[in-house]
């Protein structure tokens, strides 16, 4: 299903009207927020940790070239290979060629937003390789031909009945809507794939520059299987996933687990430094790391937008966003949804394509408030709005209205006169101060009446003698 961020308005108004979908998202995000709040409560130094993580990310991003070269050197020292990919096609081609060399008809894949971002699964299929998604949520949506609706829980939008029907139709198993049975079926089916695949693909949550260690955080164990059983492991990461030191991990792991699912620790955290070493039992013989740019260096070029590269993809800003909660992930027409999606999608895909996203926020600020690395998300949206305005990409009516507004507001006499004139006109027209019908507003909400006397006028009339 191909959706574009340019369709946000349409998709969002459709989805917000879908009461079932809305309930699904509101209860799921509410649940996640509750779990998060409980676990964060137990960390009195939480704010301090956020601040430190922010500063470490700042340090990294401001010296990104240095840390990436360091990471590269460390990975190579550990016997791994590093591939720098400028864009989606460079990255995908590298993977497809690797599959050819390995003569791998299938690859097992664990969750990776970077892989989603570049459409790796589609590229593999066109290259004649079958990508098998192994994260349960990803598996479900792959079978359904869907895209993820949440960066942590990709199949959040689907009900157990829908999944049951899907499995029944696609795999011919007897219908069941018991989650545990559906999960058991997927487990059994995917085991076969794990045992035979020659290549396992994973994402990266963090990559420590000093040791060349990539870290994968998960609950299911599929990422462990992808990185342990196949002969070759390939990990793909956006450039910004690098962190300076292995020793920074406790901090980031603590923030990530608690922010995304409210866990103290996820079931599994894999810290992988290169391929299997000689004296070890098992593990891949080759380790490949793709460093993906795909627009990140452009984001870096705008100092005001740089902070969006601090993101650790915890999903908390999605959960807390009142807009995301009501329109769901698919409305955003991109793999990144919610507040961080509204920031990243216009930057990755172009402001013109994603014009509505920066405005898809009431600027309530709860995203910035919850972000474990303290990205000023709603400010980022404001800067994007400003970019749109300075490129004259907003409607001319709005531009005109704004310049009239500014002209009127800059001149107090004009403001005063306008306010008086308006009231006079209403009076002589016999309309009185009955409320106006405001497009967009009035169909669902009453608009207030203009006050008979403005405060300014009242002050003039009642100006106290001795004061002011």
């Amino acid at each position: 299903m191909n959706r574009s961020p340019s369709q946000f308005k349409i998709l969002a108004s459709e989805n917000v009207a879908d009461q079932r979908l809305r309930n699904t998202f509101q209860s799921a995000t509410g649940h996640a927020l509750g779990q998060r709040a409980q676990s964060v409560q137990l960390v009195p130094e939480w704010e301090d940790l956020r601040e430190r993580a922010h500063r470490i990310k700042e340090e990294t991003v401001e010296h990104l070239d240095f840390y990436l070269e360091k990471l590269e050197a460390s990975v190579i020292r550990r016997g791994g290979r590093v591939f720098w990919a400028r864009d989606a096609s460079e990255a995908s081609n590298y993977v497809v060629n690797l599959c050819r060399r390995l003569q791998a008809p299938t690859v097992v894949k664990s969750k990776s937003m970077a892989a989603e971002e570049i459409g790796l699964a589609d590229a593999l299929e066109s290259g004649g390789v079958e990508p098998v998604e192994t994260d349960l949520g990803e598996f479900i949506i792959q079978v359904a031909g869907e895209t993820p609706s949440h960066i942590i829980a990709p199949a959040l939008h689907m009900t157990r009945q829908q999944i049951g029907k899907l499995f029944h139709e696609k795999f011919g198993i007897p219908y069941t809507d018991v989650p545990a049975e559906l999960c058991a079926f997927a487990r059994q089916r995917l085991r076969r794939e794990f045992l035979s695949a020659r290549l396992g693909i994973s994402g990266v949550n963090f990559a420590a520059a000093d040791t060349g260690t990539i870290v994968i955080v998960e609950n299911e164990g599929n990422a462990r299987l992808c990185t342990s059983l196949p002969r070759v492991h390939l990990a793909i990461m956006g450039l910004e996933k690098v962190i300076p030191r292995f020793a920074d991990l406790p901090l980031f792991l603590k923030l990530l687990a608690r922010s995304s699912t409210g866990q103290r620790q996820t079931s599994y955290v894999s810290m992988i430094s290169g391929p299997r070493r000689e004296q070890e039992w098992d593990g891949p013989e080759e380790f490949h790391l793709i460093l993906l740019d795909n627009g990140r260096s452009d984001i870096l070029a705008d100092p005001r937008m740089r902070r969006s590269l601090y993101c650790i993809r915890c999903g908390a800003c999605l959960n807390t966003c009142p807009i995301y909660q009501r329109v769901g992930g698919h409305s955003y027409g991109s793999v990144y949804s919610g507040p961080i999606g509204s920031v990243l999608t216009p930057l990755f895909q172009g402001l013109e394509v994603a014009k509505d996203l920066p405005y898809a926020s009431s600027l309530c600020g709860s995203c910035s408030n919850i972000c474990p690395v303290k990205i000023d998300l709603h400010h980022q949206l404001l800067w994007l709005r400003e970019k749109l305005v300075s490129r004259r990409a907003t409607p001319w009516q709005e531009r005109l209205a704004m310049s009239l507004f500014a002209a009127g507001m800059k001149d107090p006499t004009l403001y005063r006169m306008g306010s008086a004139l308006l009231r006079l006109l209403l009076k002589v027209s016999g309309r009185g101060n009955r409320p106006f019908a405001v497009p967009g507003w009035s169909p669902t909400r009453d608009f207030p009446a203009l006050a008979e006397t403005s405060f300014k006028q009242w002050w003039e009339d009642n100006r106290p003698g001795g004061e002011g």
Binding site: S361, P412, F455, E467, G468
Partner: protein
């Protein structure tokens, strides 16, 4: 103490009673009140829509109008945060730094001013009703003010304050957001209203007229009897 009133345009044109009651309150606590007549708008509508040039011009005007004020008090968390939080982001000229700093330091949202600057919690008002309080986003998250308004409410005689669920969840207004995305905005108000109704309060109180316009507009359209009430109106009318 001399206080200069900063009255947002929405209050000026649609809800002047909020300003009038604020004057009453401030006089009652013994400060002298002035209203710089040259003031218009802080520029927030332009700023939030991305028209930063227009907003910057209005920000400069604000500094001219209020540059000499001893203390600036406003009945809006949103407009106060425009001055305190966003002016420093858009006014980067070194020449303005000092006057900007002075103005941002001296600007206060009114409940914050009363409780945290003046140290006054009890204004002597009486209001024997059941109310619930909505935390306006900018007041709550940009300015971190949530205790002060509750203190003021609790000290009103006869009042019963019932907390709603998720009192800090956005009401759905968001300026032009409310008309750009009316369906989402309304859905947010719908949920906010449900939380309000659950408290069985007679009034929903907030410190921002824009939130009250949104919530009140929805409640009255739905025919619910619960009334929106600005804290300044609650306190000032019932002194």
């Amino acid at each position: 103490m001399n206080v200069s009133l900063f009255i947002p345009c929405l209050v000026d044109q649609f809800f002047p009673s909020v300003g009038i009651n604020l004057v009453k309150i401030l006089r009652k606590v013994g400060v002298s009140v002035d209203y710089p007549r040259e003031q218009t708008c802080c520029g927030q509508p332009a700023f939030n829509s991305g028209y930063h040039e227009e907003a910057t011009q209005l920000a400069r005007r604000f500094l001219e109008v209020f540059g000499d004020a001893e203390t600036i008090v406003s009945p809006s968390g949103s407009c106060t945060s425009m001055v305190k939080v966003f002016y420093p982001e858009i006014l980067q000229d070194v020449g303005l730094r000092k006057s900007l700093q002075a103005v941002t330091d001296r600007t206060h949202e009114f409940s914050d001013f009363l409780v945290n600057v003046m140290g006054i919690k009890d204004l002597g008002a009486t209001f024997p009703h059941r109310v619930t309080y909505h935390d306006a986003c900018h007041l709550f998250r940009e300015l971190g003010v949530h205790r002060a308004p509750r203190e003021l409410i609790r000290h009103v005689r006869g009042i019963e304050l019932v907390e709603m669920e998720n009192s800090d969840a956005c009401c759905g207004f968001g300026g032009t957001f409310s008309v750009k995305f009316p369906e989402i905005s309304t859905a947010m108000t719908q949920d906010k209203s449900a939380a309000i109704l659950k408290t069985e309060a007679e009034y929903v109180v907030a410190n921002d007229s824009s939130c009250l316009m949104q919530i009140g507009g929805y409640l009255s359209r739905q025919g619910f009897p619960i009334k929106p009430l600005h804290l300044a109106d609650l306190l000032g009318e019932n002194l």
